[in-house]
Symmetry: C2
Subunit: 308 residues, 2 copies
């Protein structure tokens, strides 16, 4: 690495550590801290969300908010709430995804999955309650976050989580097991299944500040590119990493006969494709014309170069 | 019935029929009409929502909106969206509730339940997607519904659906099977499990127009009373009605050894309690000082006198 690259990486580490502290604290404060009436549900919700995860989606929200200079108190609060809300949607989707009727996985982030620990019924409810909580976080009193921002954030999140986003992608995924998908069908599935929420994270961050239509469009391109890159890398890691490193069961895709980028393109071409998507993301950032894009840039590298 | 009571009942029938047509049409337009990418998910979502249900919650929203004179175009649109959104939350909760890991029921509204018809995985996803869609409906473009109203509606709905509302009540319900609950514990469970969403329906309707703090408080009392009355009547019907009339499996509660108002208070006392709650609801309406409460009044009678 050059000196300036080293300097940038160090700056990013400082930024990221600071943001992660904020996010972990906020999640711990906001996720069912004391539901005395239903203690098991509260425990299951906290177990699903706390002490785990790379928090990539919250970091994307906060990085995008920084890029559009969302720095006044209300904007900062909006961005933190948005960051936590996307993580709650992500967490609930993992809880439901791991259940026996879906992927039937017993290990997540190196721990027993929620239904293994708390039973299927509580896992189902915990997922449901986490989705509701995501929207609750986005809609505090009007003096905390402007209602226009609240409405925009709810809309972006709802669209990315529902049948035209994450849930739709998961339904395609279900239908595709054991089938030979064309590469464009695989793209569509992942654009919805993982890409939609990653892109939404970027756009929710951007919605916390002022952004021109051109910059918005470029940020959408950035979000789409890293959303897809994330999945390509996921498929690569499913083949190249081991279960201990991943914290979840490796080799699952091949075992379940799921189509992946690796199974369709091969390993080397998949790696090259991830790099190409990284370049697309960086090019899109340049097009935004925004001044403070260091965090978004670093996160793009992080998505592609991650080892877990 | 007296002539004036007859006249009122007839007026209510006309009002209700008109509202039901609006709600059914809106649900049909808005619930996943063409998710070409995930056709089974779309079908499962529509199956869960359309062609069934009394639409009590949407009617409560629209009746409350009428009571607070929400009559301009944006307010009408807000109320219709709110009406559909509470029904989507209700519908998703039934889909998940019927699943094998929860109540394991195969019959709902006289038809096979969603997981019987589409499989457990699609049922899980359909429920998840319906919850997201509820919030999507509440957050259209700002020129359709004022963003301040959007934010309020999302907040009320999220709170009533999550761990401090419906999902919390379901978790208590799960934990109570086979246990001897005290009557106040049973109250708490139902206040959350069914009461929260019914009360939210009233408050969301009220949020579509202008309402004084006093009227708001009285409407909350009304919502709490009919919310509880609904569950008391449910418990009575579970004992007195048959499966064909109910469209769902009768006698389930006793079979599953669930505590109910009937098991704790007896049948006659439960019926008397429902009537007392009806009177509380009507008294609360008088306290609102609002002028157009006919629909809310009729719905209170409907909740208590229903036979299915």
């Amino acid at each position: 690495m050059s000196d300036s690259a080293n300097h940038m990486a160090a700056l990013h580490d400082v930024w990221m550590s600071a943001q992660l502290v904020r996010v972990e604290q906020a999640l711990s404060d906001w996720v069912a801290p004391a539901v005395d009436l239903a203690p098991v549900l509260s425990q299951a919700m906290r177990y699903a969300v706390l002490d785990g995860g790379k928090r990539l989606r919250p970091l994307l929200v906060l990085a995008a908010a920084e890029a559009v200079a969302a720095v006044d108190e209300k904007s900062l609060q909006a961005a933190l709430r948005a960051a936590c809300s996307v993580e709650l949607i992500h967490a609930y989707s993992l809880v439901h995804d791991d259940m026996p009727c879906m992927d039937n996985d017993i290990l997540r982030r190196g721990k027993p999955t929620v239904h293994v620990k708390f039973g299927e019924a509580q896992a189902l409810l915990a997922g449901d309650a986490l989705q509701a909580l995501a929207f609750e976080l986005l809609t505090p009193a009007p003096d905390v976050v402007d209602t226009a921002v609240q409405a925009t954030l709810c809309r972006i999140l709802a669209l990315s989580a529902g049948c035209h986003g994450m849930a739709g992608g998961q339904a395609i995924d279900l239908a595709s097991v054991g089938k030979l998908l064309a590469i464009d069908e695989l793209h569509t599935m992942h654009r919805l299944k993982t890409g939609a929420l990653l892109q939404a994270s970027v756009m929710m961050g951007a919605a916390c500040g002022a952004v021109s239509p051109e910059a918005k469009l470029a940020l959408q391109e950035y979000g789409a590119a890293i959303g897809l890159a994330f999945q390509v890398v996921d498929d690569v890691l499913d083949v190249t990493a081991d279960t201990a490193t991943l914290g979840k069961t490796a080799g699952k895709d091949a075992e379940q006969d799921k189509p992946t980028f690796v199974s369709l393109m091969g390993l080397d071409a998949s790696k090259a494709y991830a790099d190409k998507l990284l370049q697309q993301a960086l090019t899109a950032l340049e097009k935004t014309g925004l001044s403070n894009m260091r965090a978004l840039e670093s996160l793009a590298y992080m998505v592609v170069n991650r080892v877990t």
